[in-house]
């Protein structure tokens, strides 16, 4: 067995790229433009969906599970035959801005063009310049496996008519430059709302409830990013958000699942200035209405004393060694649960995922350890997982809906189907 770590050397961000990209609009030399393009490709997290673990970066073939079937990402290396080597900048801009491929066919909105449309032409061109410097890889993605009649791409035109607002981001003059930069990154390249918002039956983001938390696919739930104090970032400072996006962890929590991919592949590479901009924008989103009272006299009747007692027993046996009796975790090591934002997520799927499948913290150079939590799928049954999570969500001042064994069973099925998400992380070397 010959082991070497995942080698992504070609993608490592060069020092200085972050500085160059900090909102720079001016066209520089070809080299600096490519640097800027790489930075923007990282901000857009292209690599997460366009790379299969163990495969060539950006060569596509990654399966995106949607409620409508599986869509395989395309090859965006500059291979002439199978990639986008023969796409002009106009072609590429049309894809990102309007969701139309070079051949005139519609992209499925699994590619976040409804957000990329906000990006400036210069930024999109820079990304293309960067992609053109990659090693061309000859790779054809498998055919999509979509339910009838969605294989017919023309249907997307109707979807676009209903849900797609084409158009670049327009600065709000009443807001600061930092806010506007943040809004541009969150709603454009970063496409945060793609996961963090509720979606309608046709998979379109509910823009009236943007960033209130939403389905992140494969039974993961992306929690709310509004300023709600429990179910949101209300208690986080700008610095807390910056620290989380740079390292995947802060004093309140640690990232998991798809968000760890986002941190490792995208946000850890962003300049502190851009992260501050993102945080400034997020902090300005008002708290949403959770429909729950804020006092702790829980209105979820399922949070009974009996469930809490059973949950506590599991917690003491299985969780307390790291997360501690007071739920405060260990500073500089294991994440806290008391008052933790993701613990209060409206939907508990991600918590269930972490308990069943285990998890590794992000391990960027700034915080290299990648502390791991073992999976409990083999050890705890659905009710035990539901009990302990209900306990965690309603102890130490926490307050959130009870977790049911049925919810656990559903996530367990998803875990069987897709496997633990951390096993697909393309960058991690865990010990």
């Amino acid at each position: 067995m010959h082991m070497t770590r995942q080698n992504l050397a070609g993608l490592t961000l060069l020092a200085g790229a972050a500085v160059l990209a900090g909102g720079a609009r001016a066209q520089g030399t070809e080299f600096t433009n490519v640097q800027r393009g790489r930075y923007l490709a990282q901000a857009s997290d292209c690599i997460s969906c366009h790379t299969v673990k163990g495969g060539k970066p950006f060569a596509g073939g990654y399966p995106l599970e949607t409620p409508f079937g599986t869509i395989y990402s395309s090859n965006i290396t500059p291979d002439l035959a199978t990639g986008i080597g023969n796409w002009s900048k106009d072609d590429f801009y049309r894809a990102l801005h309007s969701g139309i491929r070079k051949d005139g066919q519609h992209l499925y909105p699994a590619c976040p063009y409804p957000w990329f449309t906000k990006m400036t032409r210069e930024d999109v061109d820079a990304i293309k310049d960067y992609l053109d410097t990659l090693e061309p890889v000859r790779a054809i993605a498998p055919d999509n496996e979509l339910m009838w009649p969605l294989g017919w791409r023309q249907l997307v035109a109707g979807w676009n008519l209903l849900f797609f607002d084409e158009g670049e981001f327009i600065d709000r003059p009443d807001k600061s430059r930092l806010w506007n930069r943040g809004a541009y990154l969150v709603n454009g390249a970063g496409h945060c709302a793609a996961c963090h918002s509720p979606k309608n039956m046709l998979g379109a983001t509910d823009r009236d409830h943007a960033l209130r938390g939403g389905d992140a696919g494969e039974s993961w739930f992306a929690p709310s990013l509004t300023s709600h104090e429990r179910d949101g970032l209300g208690t986080w400072s700008t610095q807390d958000i910056v620290q989380y996006l740079s390292t995947g962890a802060n004093a309140n929590t640690a990232s998991a699942g798809p968000m760890t991919e986002v941190v490792m592949n995208s946000t850890q590479h962003l300049s502190k200035q851009d992260l501050t901009a993102i945080a400034t924008y997020l902090k300005d989103i008002p708290a949403h209405d959770t429909g729950q009272a804020d006092d702790h006299d829980g209105d979820d009747k399922a949070v009974t004393q009996e469930v809490m007692a059973r949950g506590k027993a599991v917690y003491v046996d299985q969780c307390m060694g790291c997360h501690m009796a007071d739920g405060e975790g260990q500073e500089d090591a294991f994440p806290r649960l008391a008052g933790s934002v993701p613990v209060h997520a409206e939907q508990p799927q991600s918590l269930i995922q972490v308990v069943l499948g285990g998890e590794f913290m992000a391990d960027p150079a700034e915080l290299p350890t990648g502390l791991g939590m073992p999976g409990f799928a083999w050890k705890l049954d659905d009710r035990q997982v539901a009990d302990v999570l209900t306990f965690v969500r309603n102890n130490w001042g926490n307050k959130a809906s009870a977790v049911t064994p049925e919810q656990v069973a559903k996530v367990r099925d998803a875990l069987h189907e897709y496997g633990p998400r951390h096993e697909r992380l393309i960058s991690q070397s865990v010990h």
Partner: protein, 587 residues
């Protein structure tokens, strides 16, 4: 015919503590470093996860993390007039296999040797006269001093997040610490672990007798810790499954919990598992290594060329490789010439069980949770009237209360049946053990060489261990045991059980995995394999690192010193050897 692999700058044999430290240091110089590990890849999660690691049968009894004698072992005899037989089960000592090496399943007892230990022969001869050292005892000075190693001890302790209390800060004695220790440049990185009930009883009894008990230094994190490499450790949970287990809580220092998260991300580092290195390949002058030969698990042979070969395997394994490779003249006990295999030593231990009235809760333990005294270690007391050399610490450890192996019963208890059950019920929660941890001198009759009869799976001669305790050490151990008995009695127990160490040495019952010597360091090429920088005298591009460098064994667990030596050697390579490859010391 061996497949030739792509050359690297540095090849490390083994991937435990010393290899991890040296790899981390040398990759900082931009060198391409490769580690070859005989065992499997292992990570905290999933391999040592808290969900399953507390399995005493699998790990402690059946040796889940140890070297497998069916693949690799040695032969043993007490004296050179006997015929050695292969060791088919691990008993007395339990080397590790796999990434992290024995650094995964150790307890975390992280000591420094005493300043006098590093100059043992000259110190003993100066204080007690040359005639004090028996003729057949081959103790010698290390060639490196405590003061030289101090910064490297410090680096290892801060790497590991050692929990403890300094007894000597820059020459100033500190209350609650070990007043006999060498001067430290700063306090331990973390405060001592919480004291166990047993520790407090020992502390009280020892103080009543006028001793200076202290919290033993532990590489079990008493608090969450972030080390100088930025690697995070969790706080120890006192689960009682340290020794012979990996730590699932990231609390016990190991390569995995202190170095690998940083090292494994480096593009100029790689490692391969399942690689049995069988030989260092020398060029036709015999003065330069070209690389190493190894077999993979399918029995295919490879040659790995390298500019620099560093042996970082377990102590005896390093010596075996030197002998198989023809590096250094093999030791001949008859003529007392040659160096490779010379000065093998071990550790001499004993214990006194005390059955007490107090509730002990033994299962709340940690590998290095203990209270110790150092009054009778090294040369901390006058050996003149005693007529022996060396010493050891006396400690009460609360490492755990595992059901199969960690219980104590009064003398005379039947080994089964209702009386056994009754005694177990009465004593499991109400007994402690005080142990002694003694030094072992090196001597002409204790050495490592190639077995003339038995071969390993590759057809190479097994390593042969010839060892018995020297009379000096048995007398020293009796002395220590007597002192331990005194402390046990001061605890006013219901009864005690004194377990002396008697000769001859046997490899059957577990004692300690503290095998030392065989490739010792020193200033004289006639009595050492490596110079003070752990560089082979004969083959300057081969370094050998580990407890095999100890010229004799002292009264402490070896890992602290092994870690310090690894940093010391890495520093010499970084700042001296790389600038001018060649001998760092002229013979």
């Amino acid at each position: 015919m061996a497949t030739r692999m792509k050359p690297v700058d540095v090849v490390l044999v083994g991937f435990g503590w010393t290899a991890s430290i040296i790899a981390q240091e040398l990759t900082e110089e931009g060198l391409q470093v490769l580690a070859l590990e005989r065992g499997a890849d292992r990570a905290t999660v999933p391999d040592f996860a808290t969900t399953h690691i507390q399995d005493e049968l699998k790990y402690a009894v059946r040796g889940g993390l140890f070297q497998a004698p069916v693949r690799e072992t040695m032969s043993f005899r007490n004296t050179s007039d006997q015929v050695a037989l292969p060791m088919r089960r691990l008993g007395s000592f339990r080397p590790g296999a796999g990434v992290g090496g024995a650094g995964v399943h150790w307890n975390g007892q992280t000591w420094r040797f005493l300043p006098d230990d590093f100059v043992m022969r000259s110190h003993v001869e100066e204080r007690y006269g040359a005639g004090f050292v028996p003729e057949d005892v081959t103790i010698q000075d290390w060639g490196v001093t405590y003061d030289e190693l101090e910064p490297y001890y410090d680096r290892f302790e801060y790497l590991c997040g050692v929990s403890g209390k300094a007894g000597n800060l820059g020459g100033r004695t500190q209350a609650e610490g070990n007043p006999f220790e060498g001067a430290r440049s700063r306090e331990y990185p973390l405060p001592p672990l919480e004291r166990s009930a047993g520790s407090l009883m020992f502390d009280k009894a020892a103080r009543e007798l006028g001793y200076h008990p202290f919290a033993a230094p532990a590489a079990n994190a008493s608090r969450p810790y972030k080390n100088p490499l930025g690697v995070q450790m969790g706080q120890c949970t006192y689960c009682g499954f340290c020794e012979w287990f990996g730590c699932g809580n990231y609390s016990k220092a190991s390569p995995q919990t202190t170095i690998l998260p940083v090292l494994l991300k480096k593009d100029n580092f790689s490692y391969r598992t399942g690689c049995d290195v069988t030989q260092v390949v020398l060029d036709n002058t015999g003065r330069k290594a070209k690389g190493v030969l190894y077999y993979d698990l399918e029995g295919r042979e490879y040659e790995q060329p390298a500019q620099l070969v560093i042996l970082c395997a377990y102590a005896q394994h390093n010596v075996h490789l030197l002998l198989l490779s023809g590096i250094g003249q093999p030791y001949d006990p008859v003529s007392d010439t040659g160096v490779t295999g010379r000065n093998y030593a071990y550790q001499i231990t004993s214990s006194v069980d005390a059955f007490v009235d107090e509730l002990i809760n033994p299962y709340m333990g940690a590998g290095a949770l203990g209270q110790a005294i150092d009054e009778f270690n090294g040369d901390n007391f006058d050996h003149g009237p005693e007529g022996f050399m060396g010493g050891g610490y006396i400690a009460l450890w609360t490492t755990g209360g595992r059901p199969i192996l960690q219980h104590r019963l009064p003398k005379g208890t039947p080994q089964w049946g209702s009386k056994w059950k009754k005694a177990m019920a009465e004593n499991y929660l109400r007994s402690v053990s005080i142990s002694t941890h003694g030094s072992v001198v090196s001597q002409r009759g204790a050495y490592l060489d190639l077995d003339p009869t038995y071969k390993d799976i590759y057809g190479k001669p097994l390593l042969r261990l010839t060892f018995d305790f020297h009379d000096n050490d048995l007398r020293m151990s009796d002395f220590l045991t007597g002192k331990a008995e005194g402390i046990a009695k001061a605890m006013k127990p219901r009864s005690i059980n004194v377990k002396k160490r008697t000769g001859p040495y046997t490899i059957v019952p577990y004692q300690t995995t503290h095998n030392t010597g065989g490739a010792v360091m020193g200033d004289d090429p006639r009595t050492s394999v490596v110079n003070r920088y752990l560089q082979c005298w004969d083959v300057p591009n081969v370094f050998v690192v580990g407890a095999c460098n100890f010229p004799q064994n002292h009264g402490y667990n070896p890992t602290g010193t092994v870690g310090a030596l690894a940093f010391w050697a890495a520093d010499a390579i970084r700042h001296q050897y790389l600038k001018r490859p060649g001998p760092l010391v002229q013979a």
